[in-house]
């Protein structure tokens, strides 16, 4: 048996090796048909013809086609892989990849693809790249074949499984084979084994596959599939609950970031600062400007753009905060209503200023590579950007706590808040402490903007979306208490996200607001109320 299999493989290898010279001209002939193919279905026929050759060399033109990089030169109807460079396109041979000169954009026509074609190409490439050297490519191929089962896949998969050395790839190949067995006319025993193998995956893709197989299967296989689906679904329900909690924590971290600066300006200083959201916006725009500068001058540094933007965003927002405090707020201490109106006005001015300078449209802030995509923990898909934002929010919180509790400046801040006149008598320059505290709160809002630019629009309206939530968090957590803000943010986030799948996003938000209103009725000073003399001050 093994001997026969080995022999077959050898034949297969020999065939691919020896035929490569003759096949290349044949392949060129097939590729040339792209030039005359009209409409997506005809292009699809050519794709099938190419993959039917079974030659791994077609991977290059097909990938190029899927990426929209395959062109026809209008003059001689030859097909090339093209790379756009300004107004011209650099051409290269579709099989060998040798450079074949340049052409003006108007002289070549792009071969169009759509989703359906891209899927056809992806599936076809799956089979062709099973023997690739890179285990990651083989894994991707196995994954594609799992999702697109086909009875014809069983044989190549058997060959691949026999020669596979990496355990994870091998496991996935076996699952892909099982998926293909399910849609083939193999005996029932094979199919039952396949259902068991796929059922063991216990993820959403397995449910998807089993559901589609369930309908047309014989009764024994059908029962096994139904049982496997029920089994997987009950496990998934648990994971779903976990997923909701994670989403809640992630939303909580966003709320915490947005509110943490306000916890200083409103919580500690008692200033109702309606321009808080605009400080967040300034931070986001600073990120945009930094990325813009990096894109034009130092493209290699792009992954560091957020790190570079952080101190700058802090400085920009803190500086604007300082101006607001010195220019407006210091005349209004102790007059909350006037402060509210004045800072509201300031927020409008800042928004319109940004609109006049950068324009009203969204600005593109890119995600560095370490903040893109997601990874799986069991059945939880955790996106990198959310994870980093959580880490970042907690770090900022920790640093702020340190500044407030462990540094002389923090001591002065708390002294001024507790009893201004006493603090002044002790030689603290209270106006300076006020100004610097406000600048600190604003600066922290600015660095929150750097993080929020990764998940939200960078537009002049950015801050509007966060101002209400921020006040909600600070008031709910207890004014003047940083820990209250932390607990408030995470509990609001989790309650919101646990409600959302059942009540929907709109109703969920309303329920949360009603709950807060009821809570504030019961405990007007929030979760962690400050006690003692500070309250009266």
């Amino acid at each position: 048996m093994t001997l026969i299999r080995a022999g077959l493989m050898l034949l297969f290898l020999l065939a691919t090796l020896s035929s490569s010279g003759a096949a290349e001209s044949d392949l060129h002939a097939v590729i040339a048909k792209f030039a005359t193919a009209k409409g997506f279905s005809e292009i699809g026929t050519v794709v099938h013809e190419l993959t039917a050759t079974g030659d791994a060399a077609v991977e290059r033109p097909l990938s190029a086609l899927a990426d929209g990089n395959l062109y026809v030169r209008k003059a001689d109807s030859l097909v090339f892989i093209g790379k756009e460079a300004g107004e011209s396109v650099q051409l290269s041979d579709p099989l060998g990849g040798e450079a074949s000169g340049e052409a003006a954009k108007d002289d070549v026509a792009k071969i169009k693809v759509n989703n359906t074609l891209r899927r056809v190409i992806r599936d076809a490439l799956g089979t062709l790249t099973l023997g690739a050297k890179d285990p990651a490519v083989r894994l991707a191929a196995a994954d594609t074949m799992f999702k697109t089962p086909d009875a014809a896949n069983i044989e190549p998969l058997d060959t691949a499984i026999a020669s596979e050395t990496v355990a994870s790839v091998k496991a996935l190949l076996e699952q892909a084979r099982a998926a293909s067995v399910l849609v083939s006319d193999r005996p029932e025993a094979d199919k039952l084994a396949a259902v068991a193998l796929i059922g063991a995956r216990s993820d959403r893709d397995a449910v998807s596959l089993l559901t589609s197989v369930e309908a047309g299967a014989s009764s024994a296989v059908k029962d096994a599939a139904t049982a496997a689906i029920a089994n997987i679904n009950s496990t998934l329900a648990l994971w779903d609950a976990g997923q909701n909690i994670w989403y809640g924590i992630s939303l909580g971290s966003v709320l915490l970031l947005a509110a943490i600066g306000l916890a200083i300006t409103f919580g500690v200083m008692g200033v109702i600062n309606m321009a808080h959201g605009e400080m967040v916006m300034l931070g986001a725009y600073t990120t945009f400007v930094v990325q813009q500068a990096i894109r034009t001058s130092f493209p290699g540094l792009f992954d560091w753009s957020l790190v570079i933007a952080l101190p700058l965003a802090f400085l920009v927002a803190a500086f604007v905060g300082l101006i607001i405090e010195r220019g407006v707020i210091r005349f209004l201490y102790g007059r909350p209503l006037e402060t509210l109106l004045a800072t509201w006005g300031v927020s409008l001015i800042l928004q319109q200023a940004v609109r006049s300078i950068f324009g009203p449209t969204n600005q593109e802030v890119g995600n560095p590579s370490w903040m893109s995509g997601s990874f799986d923990v069991g059945q939880l898909a955790i996106t990198w950007n959310r994870l980093w934002i959580l880490v970042f929010a907690l770090t900022v919180f920790g640093m702020l706590l340190y500044v407030m509790k462990r540094t002389p400046w923090g001591l002065q801040m708390r002294a001024v808040t507790a009893n201004r006149r006493m603090a002044a008598s002790m030689g603290i320059r209270t106006p300076w402490v006020d100004a610097l505290t406000f600048a600190l709160g604003s600066g922290i809002a600015g660095i929150a903007g750097v993080a929020l630019s990764q998940i939200d629009n960078v537009s002049p309206n950015l801050g509007r979306g966060y101002i209400i939530d921020s006040f909600m968090v600070v008031v709910f957590g207890g004014v003047g208490n940083l820990w209250g803000t932390l607990v408030g943010a995470f509990s609001l986030g989790i309650v919101n996200k646990v409600l959302e799948p059942y009540a929907g996003a709109v109703l969920g938000k309303i329920v949360v607001l009603v709950l807060i209103i009821l809570f504030i009725q019961k405990r007007p000073r929030g979760l962690f109320a400050l006690k003692g003399r500070e309250v009266e001050a």
Binding site: K112, V207, E364, S459
Partner: protein
């Protein structure tokens, strides 16, 4: 430091200019024709509407360069309703009564249009409305140059159901919670059911305006899509909420080949704020794409870049709608020989002007226009590539045939019928549609 001061200086100079603009009409002589522009320049809708204001200023400039209209120069009167719906009505009244404009180009959201309707019919003036909307309306004083649902939503769903579009069997209707998505989704649900889609294969979900945390929704889409049937999302998510929505889709790895998202409110302008590489293949249905290769469009884009002095600014579908609407109005005024709104309204019907995609737009008796419907896939460069185009032009159908309330209604503003909601079953003018 300097940045901030110059910011403030710019702010002040901007407001001085704005004040100048607003007081300009008072000094203007009678030898100009005034055109009102009613788009939000501040507040949440400024992101979309400011561009339309600029597009109108460009069109008016160009017309003046061609010698104006009826031997007079055109003069733009710009007001800022600040994304505040009641203020739209006030500003519309100001434009018509105080500035005596001959026509108004404006509004974006349906609620702003609804708020100005009574003003336009009371003072008998003309509004050109350039945005795709939910239909179920036809007013004598309004010309709808954007798409009605049958010129966008229905062909988009047809495409997804076709073999080219992936033969979709399961549908997620995801929208922002307000009138346009709700009505459109109602029409789509009825349409899908009429095509034999079972109720359990349709999921409808709404989120608030400006929604930013899409984790739950996107994972629900993923879950809904894993039932072994080809699934697609039809998105009527509006404005700012789109960027976080697409970012979440990209991060959770939902690929267009597996679950494509077809959007009705995402154009070139919205994509400008996004890295589109993870979104290649997601779809949008419009009547115009910047990437359409026609001489008219090339010229329009070149003119726009020159006017706005920034060759990175994109053009979009509502801009084309204003282009068509403005040219139609010019033609109708020339035909009527006067700018008197009453006469121009009658002259408008049947007027035909070139659109930017190589065809003609004609004003129909129901005050909607003919349009081609294009389906485009998002490309890595932030543009759309047309993957499907209706063979001919589609006439705007204001009263949807798929809603029980409106299937018997038609609109015809020609005399002697002159009715926006004529019921063919009862033979009477009136009924639904006056709200």
């Amino acid at each position: 430091m300097r940045g901030s001061f110059s910011t403030i200086t710019k702010m002040f100079s901007a407001s001085v200019v704005a004040a100048g603009l607003m007081s300009a009409p008072a000094r203007a002589a009678d030898d100009t024709i005034k055109v009102g522009i009613l788009h939000s320049l501040s507040g949440t809708m400024a992101i979309s509407e400011t561009t339309l204001k600029d597009a109108m200023l460009m069109l008016i400039d160009e017309q003046n360069a061609k010698g104006g209209l009826l031997g007079k120069k055109l003069e733009a009167v710009v007001v800022d309703p600040a994304s505040n719906w009641p203020l739209f009505a006030e500003k519309a009244r100001e434009l018509i009564s105080k500035d005596k404009v001959a026509a108004v180009f404006g509004c974006w959201t349906s609620v702003s249009r609804k708020s100005v309707l009574p003003v336009f019919s009371e003072l008998d003036n003309i509004l050109f409305y350039p945005v795709q909307y939910e239909g179920e309306e036809s007013e004598r004083n309004v010309f709808y140059t954007g798409a009605a649902p049958n010129q966008q939503a229905i062909p988009a769903v047809d495409y997804l159901m076709s073999e080219d579009g992936g033969s979709v069997k399961r549908w997620v209707l995801e929208g922002t919670d307000y009138v346009y998505p709700r009505t459109t989704n109602k029409i789509l649900e009825a349409y899908l059911k009429s095509k034999g889609v079972a109720a359990e294969d349709i999921m409808v979900n709404y989120t608030p305006f400006g929604f930013a945390d899409w984790q739950t929704e996107v994972s629900a889409i993923k879950k809904f899509g894993s039932a072994g049937k080809k699934t697609a999302v039809v998105s009527t998510v509006n404005g700012d909420a789109n960027v976080p929505f697409y970012k979440e889709l990209g991060n959770q790895g939902i690929k267009a080949e597996d679950i494509p998202v077809m959007a009705f409110s995402v154009g070139e302008e919205e994509l400008a704020g996004l890295d589109t590489a993870p979104l290649v293949g997601h779809l949008a249905a419009w009547n115009y794409f910047e990437s359409v290769d026609t001489p008219e469009n090339k010229k329009f884009i070149a003119d726009w870049h020159k006017f706005i002095k920034n060759d990175k600014r994109t053009t979009n579908d509502p801009m084309e709608a204003h282009y068509i609407g403005f040219n139609m109005w010019v033609k109708a005024v020339e035909k009527a020989g006067t700018t008197d709104p009453d006469k121009v309204i009658d002259a408008m019907i049947g007027v035909s002007v070139p659109n930017l995609t190589g065809g003609y737009a004609t004003m129909m008796p129901n005050h909607h226009i003919t349009k081609p419907v294009l389906i485009g896939e998002i490309q890595a460069n932030g543009q759309f590539e047309t993957v499907s185009r209706t063979p001919g032009l589609v006439m705007g159908d204001e009263w949807s045939d798929y809603l029980p309330d409106s299937k018997d209604l038609i609109s015809d503003w020609r005399k002697p019928l002159s009715c926006g909601n004529f019921n063919v079953a009862t033979g009477k003018c009136g009924g639904k549609g006056t709200n």
